[in-house]
Amino acid sequence: MTTDLGMPTTAPDGVGFLRGTESFPVAAHRALADTQLRRNLGHATRTIRGKRARVVAEVPDWEELRRAGEAIKADTMARLPELLEQLEEAVTARGGVVHWARDASEANAVVASLVRGTGADEVVKVKSIATQEIGLNEALAEQGIAATETDLAELIVQLSDDRPSHFLVPAIHRNRSEIRDIFLRALPGVDPDLTDEPRRLAMAARAHLRRKFLSARVGISGANFAAADTGTISVVESEGNGRMCLTLPDTLITVMGVEKVVPRWSDMEVFLQLLPRSSTAERMNPYTSTWSGVTPGDGPQAFHLVLLDNGRSNVLASPEGRAALHCIRCSACLNVCPVYERAGGHAYGSVYPGPIGAVLSPQLTGISGPDDPNASLPYASSLCGACFDACPVRIDIPNLLVQQRAASIASHRTPTAQDVAMRTVAAAMVSPARFRAAERVLGLGRFAGRSGRIRFLPYPGSQWTSARDLPAPPAETFRQWWKRTRGSQS
């Protein structure tokens, strides 16, 4: 029997999509060989990188904005409990109902019961990563409720029984001819003469979605921001599908990770400048919807806000890791990451891919040991630092990656071969005498590289020599040269 001490817990296993089934290098192996994927991702990320750089360069106080965003998020995390209670009070005062969900299972149960309560068996959804995180569509399907994704890219992913591979562009791994094939196969009532012309693809999706918007009685959304002082929830989007879902149904249910709260309505000033330029590389996103509770006679007459923890309190409890909660899901770090560009989002297993996903997913789930797929995520980076420079709220992702690598190693119950090797090297490196001895052993490598190059090494060195030569060790180390030429000087 266990006693609940109220300590933060990690996201539960078996529900939602925060952990894949294989390690990053194994999943990346498959992605790297998919030439169509490589081409699609390379083209898409390069295009958006260029556009983002141009619109960010237009803002003279971009660095100050980033620092403001960072400060607001740090302030939020420092007093998250009080802000959430303030938000609950404000939402309730304006006619909304707030539900607290400890984890994915509780959130899914709350939403399913709310939908069932309306008598509806169909819902329309605004693109929301939080509801993907908890596997809401799957949970609703089990209850006989069909969820329709209304964001174009999300619809493409849903129709092809696929998983999103990017925050902003969930179907970034698909090109238009693949999308045409998916529509022809799965879009109800599709014109069999559909071409891959973008306009015709959009019109086909629009015809399908209009029917859904006009018939749905329940809309489900995530949230980009929630102002604690006014109880105002905000969703930003580009296609207008969000506006439809947020205004047409009778009932609106919003599932929001607890970290999305901001202290004040006026904080939106900062984030609505940072987010569009960082995500879609637009000066302003086409649709910004905000609502506070319920307005009689206008829009949904029932509003439910589900506040989701699912491991977030566990992240918040870690001084070395909590900055990962500052993320506003702009996806700039994905677009600039050379690892993401080549491996794609699916290789990360979780709904949170890329550099931020590599530090967020393992913290939300915890790391169970060296064989946990999420233990490999913090290593899916060369620590090049491009993510930190692109992050609109200045999350020091490289440092978080290092901290999560430490967490990964701390999960080893018995030392791995790598642990033993690193300990041996560390022991040699604190003793100059042992270090010199190790250098002499290394010098024997000259026999392996008599041509000047070493072309093959046994495992794990083979991981290097699979694609790269290694120079033969020099005849003389620097230390030996110094001693020979200046021995008396120091």
Binding site: P25, A28, L32, P338, V339, R342, A343, P378, Y379, A380, S381, S382, L383, C384, G385, A386, V402, Q404, R405, A406, A407, I409, Q418, D419, M422, V425, A426, M429, V430, S431, P432, F435, E439, R450, S451, G452, R453, P460, G461, Q463, W464, S466, A467, R468, D469, L470, P471, A472, P473, P474, A475, E476, T477, F478, R479, W481, W482, T485, Q489, S490
Partner: protein
């Protein structure tokens, strides 16, 4: 100025020519260079692989060796200086040693990467070098984004007589080295290297230079495997070359150099 050279473990054991070149440049400019012989490694490999506890004694050792060694310290490596400046105090604090953290911060404040030392501290961009080759420059990630060396290496290279600088497309994108990343995620690393090599080859350069022997080991290792006809040379070796001395040779992946050491160094 009295300057302590941090050879770095990789530089000491595998790429001594870059460290020798660093000594040579600084002595040519009239400074006193010392080599604290007890030095070993800054601990970067342990830190960046997540072995923060094991790195703590390495940080302590580095601080003990260099604290009183000279006025400033220099390494021909952006990533090692990046570790000293941005990670040593973190490792110490995490290990509960606030005194060491403060000492590490003090030392970090006077520890420089080579191009920073030359341009910012010593105030020179023309170090009297001569290097008659077509060269392209790869800004290594840690020098660029941890240390923010900016265009300092390029300012030094532009003053080198005989040197023709060619532009590198997507120069600021990582080469895929990343320390243990190159081994733990060898395939993604290789995919990144492929693009870097393609850009180096289309730059038309004969030499690819950078401020880190580790990244050059990666790029050079790939170029060598392909028998590409392009070699990698550390920035320090280019800056150490003069009309008087034989220009710094590519001892990396070079058969001739495996025997006797040649070049400008005695």
């Amino acid at each position: 100025m009295r300057i302590a050279v941090i050879a770095t473990c990789l530089g000491d054991a595998m790429f001594p020519q870059a460290v020798k070149a660093t000594v040579e440049i600084l002595e040519r400019l009239g400074h006193e260079v010392v080599f604290p012989e007890a030095q070993t490694c800054c601990g970067q490999m342990h830190v960046n692989t997540g072995y923060l506890d094991m790195a703590l004694p390495l940080v302590r050792h580095h601080v003990e060796v260099f604290a009183d060694a000279a006025d400033v310290s220099v390494a021909p490596s952006g990533s090692c200086v990046g570790c000293v400046r941005h990670q040593h105090a973190m490792v110490a604090r995490r290990g509960g040693d606030e005194g060491l953290a403060r000492a590490a911060e003090e030392l970090a404040g006077r520890t420089y990467e080579l191009s920073e030392l030359l341009v910012d501290v010593l105030g020179v961009t023309d170090v009297g070098a001569y290097y008659p080759h077509r060269v392209t420059y790869h800004p290594t990630c840690h020098s660029l984004r941890m240390l923010r060396v900016g265009d300092k290496p390029l300012r030094l290279l532009r003053e080198v007589r005989g040197l023709q600088l060619t532009e590198l497309t997507d120069a600021e994108v990582c080469c895929g080295f990343g320390g243990t990343f190159a081994v733990k995620n060898a395939e993604v690393s290789t995919a990144m290297l492929a693009d870097k090599m393609a850009n180096v080859l289309t730059s038309g350069a004969e030499v690819c230079t950078a401020g880190d022997s580790s990244c050059l080991m990666h790029i050079g290792g790939g170029l060598s495997r392909l028998r590409s006809g392009v070699r990698t040379v550390h920035l320090a070796e280019i800056l150490a070359s003069t009309e008087q001395g034989t220009p710094a040779r590519d001892v990396v992946f070079d058969t001739a150099e495996v025997g006797e050491s040649k070049g400008v160094h005695p």
